[in-house]
Amino acid sequence: MTDVRRLDPAELGAKYEQWIELISKNHHASNPRVVERQQFTPLRRPLSESRVALVGSAGVHLVDQPPFHVETVAGDPTYRLLPDDLDMSTLRFTHTHYDTASAQKDPNVVFPLDRLHEAVAAGRIGSASRVHIGMMGFNPDPTPIAEETAPAVAAVLETEDVDVVVLVPG
């Protein structure tokens, strides 16, 4: 297993406060909303029996789906349903707040669906969800994400009997 270092939240508080100050200057719609209540759900079954979904917030969508609105100051809290059997060459990345060059060369850099399928084939996880989720993370006011998108995404994945979700930002 890889050597990991556990981060102490106290190390990083000042950097976060600076970021909140920066976005409140640059985006008039910004809102410093955070998660109020810590959540933690232990695995309900071994990974080898678990169904796993991906959530990519790097502006991931299919070529025939509407792109995310990236020109508005408010961001775009909508999401796209991505079928598990999608053709990786049909993925698009609409996001103006990170450099999409790597994602365009290799979609697995921001949406590692091929790697997930390999983990299923190797027996490391039980199965892949029939549906994954694409989002665009640039949302100066995260209220619609918290109050509409997040519950809607949770409902979709619950319906698909998903046990485990891996989330990848842009």
């Binding site: 297993m1 998660v35 707040h97 060059a101 409902a155």
Partner: protein
């Protein structure tokens, strides 16, 4: 802001009974969002799973995400030792 959107969705999924883990390039934001589990990589934005064309690296990071799901018994953000362009 991606990290904040991810954090909000991640918490909702946990509250709905699913176990989650995220990749994180800005640990200050992920910690502020009280994410249940995340791995921090010192990679540039736009490269959360590493370099394009490096399936071995992507698989390794996915395995690290699975390891954290299996070993974490309380909320935590952990830093992996990989460095950009000399990750192993």
């Amino acid at each position: 802001m991606c990290h904040r959107s991810v954090g909000l969705v991640q918490s909702e999924l946990e509250a709905a009974g699913m176990s989650t883990v995220s990749v994180c390039l800005r640990p200050d934001i992920s910690l502020a969002m009280k994410v249940p589990r995340a791995i921090y990589l010192r990679f540039p934005l736009g490269n959360p799973m590493g370099e394009p064309g490096r399936a071995d690296q992507q698989s390794r990071i996915l395995e690290d995400l699975f390891d954290l799901l299996e070993t974490a018994d309380e909320p935590q953000v952990v830093e992996l030792p990989y460095r950009w362009r000399r990750w192993l």
